[in-house]
Structures are given as C-alpha cells and as structure tokens.
C-alpha cells in the first residue's frame, strides 16, 4: 500500500471527489493563490500549508476559488451554495478565525435542516487547521473543536492519521450535513499507508489504535499519537493499555468509549483543548454517568490549562499535553487503589 503524508491524503481525497462530482468546489483564502498577481495569475500556493496544491491547475479557477480574506462571506457563501445544489469545501484557514464567522456556521448552516422543517440539505465541508506546536501564538493555535462539537447540526471530525484523513474527507464531501474537518498542523507531515482508491470512513465509529486490559486512554486528533506512544512505553513495563481514537467528536461513539472503560476500569482522557467544557470533560461525564460501577479509579484528564496558547515555544510545550505528562497521569491511574 502506498505510504503518503496526511497532507497528501487530504489532497488526494479532494482530487478524487472533484473528479467524481463536478458539484464539488473548493473555496477559501489562497486555496490556489496567485490570483491577479503580477506573475500571471497561475496557482501559487495551494493553501497556506500546501494541502490543496495542484487542484486549481487541474480543475481551474471556477472550481478552486481564491477568495478575499473574508471569512463570514466564505462560510456563508459555502452554506448558501450547499443549500442550493453545490457540494462546497470551504476553507477556514485557521480554526481560530471562527471568531469572525461563527454566525454563518452555527446560526445558519447548522440550523437550516431543523428550522426549515427537515426540508434542507446542507452538504458543506468546512476544512480548517487546528492545534498548537508551531509557536504560532494565541490566535493561530487553538484546538477549538469542543466549541463546534456542542452545536447541534454540525458534525466534527478530528482525524489522527493519513488513512482516516482521506476516508473522512471523502465521507465529509459525500455527507449531506455540514461537517467540520479539523486538520491538525502537526500532523500534516505524518506518513501512513493510504489506499490509492477512494474509500470512506464512517462517522461516529471510534477505532482502537491499541488494545489492552489495564487502562484506557481516550483521545482525538494529534493527541491520539501521544497516547499510542505512552501505551507502547507502558507495555515495556507490562501494562496493557488500550487507546480509543474517537475519530469524530460529533457524532461521538459513546458505545466504544463505555465498552473500553468497563473493560479496563481505569480511564485517562487526553484532549488538547482548554479544560472547561472540553471533550475531556464531556467524555469523563459520559463514563461517570454510565460506567461508574465498573471503575477502579477516578477518571483522569490531561488537557491544556485554562489559558490562551502562548507563543513562546517553552511555554507552548508546557501548555500542551505531552507523552511525559500523559504517562505520569496514566501511571497514577494504574497504581490507584480503591
């Protein structure tokens, strides 16, 4: 099976879906780049991280649309186009920018189907960069997926590897509801085996990236890879650690979460988001409510602190959950005695 990067996996998904369905269009800031430039207007970037490179050259500017820096209009135009017959992928360059366009996402796109009496379909994909680790500071680094997860009407995807990234992007484009596709900056260069052909990954189905019986680590996006690292370290000490990659935070696979919690009786939830109203709190509360009797230790959380993301790399490293921090909490959970 070919080994490609997370970035290439998303690009391949977009390319294959645009080849399959002419109603799929891509829009956003510099998704092609170069429009109107003195060099002649050819594609110049393919997105600020190069994820959409080559698509404009293949599909033309009618379908790969460079927009002004105008996030409300990008999100709204995507939503309106989805409502009327296109299948747009609208790029919100950094998820932090949701601050200037949230209305078009949560009051408009997310609510059409419900408030229009079930008659609307809004096949909109919002593709957006999340996460810290590049020293990009407070307004370009946040893991804001909990904010989107709490909105009824949205689906939120947090892929942790290239295989899921491709399959989830293809499913997102084919899906008839508004979907937020969170691509973590630190994962774009991650390599993995990805089939050449198009395939889909079902939403709301968690994946066990490690199977174990002593402890469950539950996570999403980039943090899943840290959890895998910790599980492998602990295996050297003969601890059997299970890792649940929820893959999508909405819908959330509560069955898989509860099944693993009941099996191991010890749970650590790892989330890059700020702690209040995070996925860590939500998942913890689900386990506490439904699997309390099966627990052998308190549910533990490893999250970012209740602070903005600092630009200083040393502070940023302190801010982020790391394999070391996760391992420390995991060992405490393993050693806890009732």
């Amino acid at each position: 099976m070919p080994v490609i990067t997370f970035r290439e996996a998303i690009n391949q998904a977009l390319r294959q879906e645009m080849e399959r369905d002419e109603k799929v269009v891509l829009m956003g800031e510099d998704v092609a780049g170069g429009a109107g430039g003195s060099a002649g207007g050819d594609e110049a970037a393919g997105g600020v991280m190069g994820v959409t490179a080559g698509l404009c050259t293949q599909f033309g500017r009618e379908r790969v649309i460079d927009t002004p820096i105008t996030e409300s209009a990008i999100m709204g135009m995507g939503a309106g186009a989805a409502l009327t017959g296109l299948r747009p992928v609208a790029e919100l360059m950094f998820a932090d920018f949701v601050g200037v366009c949230f209305d078009q996402i949560y009051n408009q796109a997310a609510k059409f189907r419900y408030m229009f009496g079930g008659k609307a379909r809004t096949p909109l994909v919002i593709k957006t960069l999340v996460g810290a680790g590049m020293g990009a500071g407070p307004q370009h680094s946040q893991a804001i997926y909990p904010l989107l997860t709490m909105v009824p009407g949205l689906k939120v995807l947090t892929p942790s590897n290239p295989y899921d990234a491709k399959g989830m992007m293809i499913q997102a484009i084919r899906d008839d509801d508004p979907v937020i596709f969170c691509e973590h900056k630190m994962l774009l260069g991650m390599e993995g085996e990805v089939p050449e052909e198009a395939y889909t990954v079902e939403f709301g189905k968690a994946k066990l990236t490690r199977e174990g019986s002593d402890l469950t680590l539950i996570s999403m996006s980039h943090m899943v890879n840290h959890c895998n690292t910790v599980a492998d370290r602990l295996a050297e000490d003969d601890f059997s650690v299970e890792v649940v990659d929820v893959r999508t935070t909405s819908p959330l696979d509560t069955n898989a979460i509860l099944e693993s919690a009941r099996k191991t009786g010890r749970v650590v939830v790892v989330d890059e988001a700020n702690p209040m109203c995070s996925m860590a709190s939500e998942i913890s509360s689900i386990i506490a409510e439904h699997a309390f009797e099966d627990l052998d230790a308190p549910i533990r959380k490893v999250t970012a602190p209740h602070t903005p993301v600092p630009a200083n790399p040393t502070l940023e490293a302190l801010y982020l959950p790391s394999p070391d921090k996760i391992e420390m909490v995991a060992r405490e959970a393993l050693e806890y005695e009732l």
Partner: protein
C-alpha cells in the same frame, strides 16, 4: 416598461395579500394567540413584490430578514403554510420549528427569513455561486434592512459578489429605523455610495412606488442574468408598525405613522396610478381585496385549529443522518 393586465393584477394581489396578512397578524397578536416575536412588513410591500414578480421559482433565490413575511409571500411561499408556521403548528412550512423569523421554502427559492441581522447576504451570494457554477441563469436577491447595512457580513458579501462577478441584486430597504434608532444616526454616508465604492451600479428608488422598484429591479436582474455582475438598489421604505409588535414607538413623532399611512402607502399609490391610467378598474382591485380577505380569514382559522407538532418532532431533523 408597460406591464400587462395580468402582471398588474398579479402584483396587486401579492401586495394586498402581504398587507392583509400583516394587518391581520397584528390583530391576532394582540389577542395573545401568536407565539414569539413578530416584525411586520406593512408599508414595504411594493419593494418585495416589485422585484420578486420578476424572479423564477426554480432558479432564482432570495435571502430575507427578520421582517420576512412580505418577502416570502412575494416569492410565492404558500400563504396558509406561512400562517401555520407563524402559529408554530406542525402544518407550517417548516413544521412549526422555524416560526415567524425563519420561514423558508427552498422549492420556491426562498432561503429563509433570518433572525440574524445581516445573516442572509452571505448565503444569497452562495446561491448566486451555484447559479454561476451550474450555469442555471439564476439570480440571487438578498433583502437588507438599513440596520443590516452596517453589519460586516453585508460589506463582505458585496465585496465577494463583485470580486467573483456573481449574479446578485442587493436589495436594500431603508425604512428609516434600525429597531428604535434612526438610520440617519446609525448609517454613515449613503447606501448608494457604498455600492459605488465596490464598483457596482447603485440606484435609489421610492419604495412606495411599485413601478419605480419594478423598473430598477428589471435592469438589475437583467444585468445579473447576462453576466454583468451584482448591483444595488436602495428603496426608501415606510414602516407602518414598530420594530416588533409591542414596540411603543416612543422614538417617533406622534403623527409620523399616520402621515406614512396617508401619504406613502404603496397600495394606494398603485390603485391611483392604474385606475387613472385606465390600466385596471376599481372593481378588479376590489374583487382581489375581497378574495384576499377571505384567504387570510381561512388561513388564520385553519392555523388556529391546526395540530401541534408531536413531541417526537423535538428530536427530528437536526441532521440528515447521525449515528
């Protein structure tokens, strides 16, 4: 452009329907039977009808406002279905879950009334992008109140529509008041000048004059359909009621509304114009008045008697599918 007898009758019927619908809702609202907030369109009928009479059901879209009943009726949304929706009944066009401020009918090209001021223009340019991409020849018309004029979304939509040369007619309705605050206070410069700043044609018309609106809209729609890109129309509008029903309107001079109803009534203007020019006679219009009155009567009676949504409806239609 001279309109045919059928076109004139159709326009009058739509305007009269809006007026009757709104005036009756005021009466019913006072009796306490209508849930939620109500923002009436009385006085502005010629604007919605002047443009929507020239739009197609299947390829042309409008985006509306919280004052959206008139836009819906003008675009052909079923009047009884609307009344049922305003009463939040299961028989409403949105199953009772949208209510007055979210009436939508995509089959009629109606993208929804919108309770977020300035919410609709970005959506409308999306409909225009669909029309351009799929080459349907369709046009999108966002209605924008003078209050929404100052929202960033409107500026963003105007710029994007120009940059992408989208088939859009931005229809501004300046009724002089953003809620309880005068447009003269809250809107700097002029709406027409804002259009010019984006390099698109802009014109100002009297919103009480159906024929003036119709002519300006005809030119703008034709330009958009022929690939000429977006344009703006500012219609001076006259709001016969407060911002919402229950607004005591202490910000208006005592006789302001009385003066508007006497001297700036688009329905009276229309009647005078067509009867004096002998295009229609008074009997034609009286007959429509009677039919419309009966229709609204029936709509209210049916809406009051219609069933509530089932408890299950609370959980339905959040998603197309959700595992």
């Amino acid at each position: 452009m001279q309109l045919s007898r059928e076109e004139l009758l159709s326009a009058y019927r739509r305007m009269r329907t809006i007026r009757e619908f709104e005036e009756r809702l005021n009466v019913e609202f006072q009796s306490g039977t209508v849930p939620g907030f109500l923002h009436l369109y009385s006085g502005q009928e010629a604007i919605a009808v002047g443009i929507c009479e020239q739009l197609d059901d299947d390829r042309d879209y409008i985006g509306s406002t919280h004052r959206g009943h008139g836009h819906c009726i003008a675009k052909g949304v079923d009047v009884k279905g609307m009344m049922n929706e305003i009463y939040c009944k299961s028989t409403g066009v949105c199953g009772g879950k949208g209510g007055s401020m979210h009436i939508a009918d995509l089959d009629k090209g109606m993208l929804g009334a919108n309770a977020i001021v300035g919410g609709a223009p970005p959506l409308a340019i999306g409909a225009a992008l669909t029309a351009k991409t799929l080459k349907t020849g369709g046009v999108a018309v966002p209605f924008i109140g003078d209050g929404a004029t100052n929202q960033g979304t409107v500026a963003e939509a105007m710029n994007m529509a120009c940059v992408l040369n989208l088939p859009v007619v931005f229809m501004f309705e300046n009724n002089g008041y953003a809620e309880f605050t005068a447009a003269s206070y809250a809107t700097a410069g002029s709406i027409e000048a804002r259009a010019e700043a984006y390099g698109m044609p802009g014109t100002t018309v009297d919103g009480a004059d159906f024929f003036a609106v119709h002519e300006a809209a005809r030119e703008a729609i034709e330009r958009a359909r022929n690939g000429g890109g977006p344009s703006c129309i500012e219609a001076k509008a006259y709001r016969f009621w407060g911002h919402f029903q229950g607004d005591p309107q202490v910000y208006r001079e005592k006789d302001e509304v009385k003066n508007l109803r006497e001297n700036f009534d688009c329905l009276k203007n229309f009647r005078t114009r067509v009867t004096e020019a002998a295009l229609l006679d008074g009997d034609d219009l009286d007959a429509i008045d009677a039919e419309v009155l009966a229709l609204i009567d029936e709509a209210v009676t049916e809406a009051k008697a219609a069933p509530e949504p089932s408890p299950e409806a609370l959980h339905e239609d959040v998603y197309v599918s959700y595992q």
